[in-house]
C-alpha cells in the first residue's frame, strides 16, 4: 500500500511502536513497583502478627485446661473453638496488644487460623468461615510446596485475601491473612491511571513525532518539487537551500551545482546550433544578392562570370563551415572513432611544417623547428589537422618578418608540442575564450574564419586524453602548449 511506502508514515509507525513499547515498559514497571510496595507493606503487617501468635501458642498451648481464649471483643461470643481436648493443647491466650492486631474494624481485617495435624485448633473471630486454601474443606496446604515443619513462610493470594502461612517446628501451622481489597482497588486505580497517562503521552508523542518528521521531510519534498520542475524543462530552477542545514543542505548544494552545469551545457548546445545557422547566413546572403542583382537585367558574360565566381566562393565557405560543424558534432557525440596507432608525433609535426612553409614564405615568417622524437598513440591525421591549425594561426596573426618556433619533446610522461609566435598576441580578456566555438577575437567575418578551428583542435586533443594551453602577451606573441600522453 502506498501509504506504507511514505517515509513519514514509516517513521511515524516505528516511532509509535517504540513509544508504545517504552511507555508500556515504564507503566508495567511502575505498576509492579507499586504492587511490590503495597504487598511488601501488607506482608510486613502479616509477618508482624506471627510472633505473638507463636508465643501465645507455645506459652499457653501445652497447659491443661486454662482459660478459654481471651482477647475476643467482649460482645462477641467465643467462636468455633474446638472442644477442649486434654491431649491437645488448644487454648491460648493472646495478650491485649496482640489482640489489637486482629481488629475487625481495620479494613484489612487481619485474621488468623491455626491448624495442627490438619485440623483447625484456633482462629480469630474475623477469620473467613471457609478455609480458602482447601479444595474441599480439607486442608491441603500441608502438601503445598514449601509447607511443612521448619519450612520458610509461604505467602498466598486468593481473590481479595492475602495470607501468610507459617509452619512451626512443633507442627502447628499458622495462617495469618488479611483482606487486600483496598490494595487491589488501589492497584487497579494505579493501573488505570498509568494507562490513561500513557495514552495521553502516546498521543502527544505521536503528534510531536509527526510534526518533527514533517519538518524533517519538508526539505526533501522541496528538493523533489524543484527536481520535478527541472525535469519538466525549466533548467533555471534551483533548490532553495537557505534553511537547509547538515546532510540535506549538502545534498541541495550538490544538486544545485549539478543543475547549474546541466543548464550551462544545454545553453552551450543551443548556442552552438544557433551560431552554426547564423554563420551560414552570410554566404547565403552573398549568393542571393549576387544572383538577384545579376538577374535584374541583361548582363555581359564577364559580369555573369564574376557573379558565378562570387557564388562559388560563398559555397566554398559554406562547405568548409559545414565540414567543421559536422566534425564538431561527431566529436561531441563521441562517435568519432579515433584511430589508435602508434606513431612518432614529431614526424607528423615536421610534415605539417613543410606543408605550411609556402604560406609562411608568403608572409615572410620564419619557421624554426626543434623536434625530438616522441611516440604517441592516436589518430595521426586528426592530430595533423590540429597542428596545421595552430601553425596557420601562428603565421596569420604574425607580423611580417616574424618568427614561429615549433618544438616537440618528451616531458613527465607526456609528449609536449610548443608553437610560439611573435605576433599580435591575444588580449587577456579574450584568452580564456579562444577555444570556444565561433569565438573570434576579431569580431568580423571578413577573414573568412568562422572561429571553429581551435574548438575542433581542442576536441580532438581531449579525445586523445591530452591538454592544450595558451599564453599570450599583446604585441609580443602567443605560445600554445599541447600535451599528449606518451605510449
Amino acid at each position: 500500500m502506498k501509504i506504507f511506502k511514505s517515509i513519514k508514515w514509516q517513521l511515524q509507525l516505528w516511532y509509535g511502536l517504540i513509544l508504545v513499547a517504552v511507555l508500556a515498559a515504564l507503566g508495567v514497571t511502575a505498576y509492579q513497583l507499586q504492587r511490590n510496595l503495597q504487598f511488601s507493606r501488607i506482608d510486613g503487617e502479616l509477618q508482624r502478627r506471627f510472633p505473638p501468635l507463636t508465643d501465645a501458642l507455645h506459652a499457653h498451648g501445652r497447659g491443661p485446661g486454662g482459660p478459654p481464649f481471651e482477647g475476643m471483643p467482649p460482645d462477641q461470643m467465643p467462636g468455633d473453638l474446638p472442644p477442649p481436648d486434654d491431649a491437645r493443647p488448644h487454648e491460648f491466650h493472646l495478650p491485649p496488644q496482640a489482640v489489637a492486631f486482629f481488629d475487625a474494624n481495620d479494613p484489612h481485617n487481619f485474621y488468623f487460623t491455626i491448624y495442627r495435624d490438619g485440623e483447625e485448633v484456633a482462629r480469630s473471630t474475623n477469620a473467613p468461615a471457609k478455609n480458602i486454601f482447601s479444595q474441599d474443606d480439607s486442608i491441603v496446604f500441608a502438601s503445598e510446596p514449601g509447607a511443612g515443619p521448619g519450612r520458610p513462610p509461604q505467602t498466598v493470594t486468593e481473590g481479595n485475601i492475602r495470607a501468610s502461612i507459617h509452619t512451626l517446628p512443633t507442627g502447628e501451622t499458622i495462617v495469618v491473612g488479611c483482606n487486600i481489597a483496598n490494595e487491589l482497588h488501589e492497584l487497579n486505580m494505579t493501573a488505570l491511571t498509568l494507562t490513561g497517562v500513557g495514552a495521553i503521552i502516546l498521543f502527544f508523542g505521536l503528534a510531536g513525532g509527526w510534526w518533527i518528521s514533517s519538518r524533517a521531510i519538508r526539505p526533501v519534498e522541496n528538493i523533489s518539487a524543484t527536481a520535478v520542475k527541472i525535469s519538466a524543462g525549466d533548467l533555471s530552477q534551483r533548490i532553495n537551500s537557505a534553511e537547509m542545514e547538515g546532510e540535506l543542505g549538502q545534498l541541495a548544494a550538490v544538486l544545485n551545482s549539478t543543475f547549474a552545469r546541466l543548464e550551462a551545457a544545454f545553453a552551450q548546445q543551443k548556442q552552438f546550433a544557433s551560431d552554426a545557422a547564423h554563420e551560414l547566413r552570410t554566404p547565403v546572403s552573398v549568393i542571393l544578392t549576387q544572383t538577384q542583382t545579376a538577374l535584374n537585367r541583361e548582363r555581359e558574360a564577364g559580369e555573369y562570370k564574376q557573379t558565378v565566381e562570387a557564388c562559388q566562393r560563398a559555397a566554398q565557405r559554406m562547405k568548409k563551415l559545414i565540414g567543421a560543424l559536422l566534425e564538431l558534432a561527431r566529436l561531441d557525440a563521441g562517435q568519432e572513432q579515433m584511430k589508435r596507432l602508434r606513431f612518432d608525433f614529431s614526424k607528423t609535426v615536421g610534415d605539417c611544417v613543410d606543408v605550411i612553409k609556402p604560406l609562411a614564405d608568403e608572409r615572410q615568417v620564419n619557421l624554426e623547428r626543434t623536434l625530438s622524437p616522441v611516440e604517441i598513440q592516436g589518430d595521426s591525421e586528426r592530430l595533423a589537422q590540429t597542428v596545421t591549425n595552430l601553425l596557420s594561426n601562428a603565421i596569420q596573426y604574425n607580423h611580417d618578418g616574424g618568427v614561429v618556433k615549433i618544438s616537440t619533446r618528451a616531458e613527465n610522461g607526456m609528449a609536449v608540442l610548443i608553437v610560439s609566435d611573435t605576433g599580435q598576441g591575444i588580449p587577456a580578456e579574450d584568452l580564456p575564450r579562444i577555444f570556444e566555438r565561433f569565438y573570434r577575437a576579431d569580431r568580423s567575418r571578413s577573414s573568412g574564419n568562422a572561429g571553429l578551428g581551435l574548438a575542433i583542435s581542442k576536441a580532438i586533443i581531449s579525445a586523445h586524453g591530452g591538454t592544450i594551453d595558451v599564453a599570450s602577451e599583446e604585441n609580443v606573441g602567443t605560445t600554445f602548449t599541447l600535451r599528449l600522453p606518451l605510449t
Binding site: 547564423h278 547566413r281 552570410t282 547565403v284 546572403s285 552573398v286 549568393i287 542571393l288 544578392t289 549576387q290 538577384q292 542583382t293 545579376a294 535584374n296 537585367r297 557573379t307 562570387a310 566562393r313 560563398a314 576579431d442 569580431r443 568580423s444 567575418r445 571578413s446
Partner: protein, 216 residues
C-alpha cells in the same frame, strides 16, 4: 538620392552597391566601421545601410555615434534575427532592421520607405501639376503619358520633388546625385537640369539665381 553601404563581406558589398546604383541611387561604400562612420559624419546621405558585424568599429557603435550628430535614416543589415537584437537595433536609433539573407526587392522597398518617410511623404505617388511621379516604380508620366528619363534624370526629379518648395543648392544636388566614384564635372548637373526641363516643361524646375533650383 545618395546612399552609404557599410558592409565588410566584399562579395556582398559589391553586388549590393551595384544593384542600388542600377536602381538609380548614388552609392558610397565602406568595409569597416571606422571608414563608414567617417563618411556618414561628413556627408548627408539620404540613407545608410549598416551591417552589424564590422571590423574596427562594430555597427552598434557606428549607429550610436551617428545618432548623436545626425538624423540620417539607417537601415540595419544583419544575420542576427533574435527579437532582442531587433529591439536593440531599433532602440539604439535604427529606422529599420533587415535580416540576412534578404530579397533584393524587399531591401529596395524598405530603402524607398525610409527616404519617403524622411521627406514626410506617405505614399509613393507625387503629383506636381500634370506630372505624376511613382517613386516605387520609378517612373514619371506627364499628362497621363509616360516620360522616358535616364536614371540620373529620374534621380534629380525625385530628389527635387521630395524637397518640393525648398531651394536646393547645386552643392546639395552634387552630394545627393553623385557618389564618390563619379568624376563629376560641374556642367553635368546643368545638362541634367536642362534635359529634365525639355521633357517635363521649362517651368518644372525653377532657377533661383545665386541660390539654386526649386520645384514649386
Amino acid at each position: 538620392m545618395r546612399l552609404l553601404i557599410i558592409e565588410d563581406e566584399p562579395d556582398l558589398l559589391s553586388s549590393l552597391a551595384q544593384a542600388l546604383r542600377e536602381e538609380g541611387y548614388a552609392v558610397d561604400t565602406a568595409n569597416n566601421g571606422e571608414d563608414g562612420f567617417y563618411k556618414a559624419e561628413n556627408y548627408n546621405y539620404d540613407a545608410v545601410v549598416l551591417d552589424v558585424m564590422l571590423p574596427k568599429m562594430d555597427g552598434w557603435e557606428v549607429l550610436a555615434r551617428l545618432r548623436k550628430i545626425k538624423k540620417t535614416p539607417v537601415l540595419m543589415l544583419t544575420a542576427r534575427d533574435q527579437s532582442r537584437d531587433r529591439v536593440r537595433g531599433l532602440d539604439t536609433g535604427a529606422d529599420d532592421y533587415v535580416v540576412k539573407p534578404f530579397d533584393l526587392p524587399e531591401l529596395f522597398a524598405r530603402v524607398r520607405a525610409l527616404i519617403r518617410r524622411t521627406a514626410n511623404k506617405t505614399t509613393n505617388a507625387i503629383e506636381i501639376g500634370n506630372v505624376k511621379i511613382d517613386t516605387a516604380a520609378r517612373n514619371i508620366s506627364r499628362a497621363g503619358k509616360p516620360v522616358e528619363l535616364t536614371a540620373r534624370e529620374y534621380a534629380l526629379v525625385e530628389f527635387m520633388a521630395l524637397h518640393r518648395g525648398e531651394v536646393v543648392t547645386r552643392t546639395q544636388l552634387y552630394d545627393h546625385l553623385f557618389d564618390e566614384n563619379d568624376d563629376s564635372f560641374s556642367n553635368l548637373l546643368d545638362v541634367h537640369v536642362s534635359n529634365v526641363r525639355k521633357k517635363l516643361g521649362a517651368e518644372f524646375i525653377m532657377t533661383r539665381r545665386g541660390h539654386g533650383y526649386c520645384i514649386e
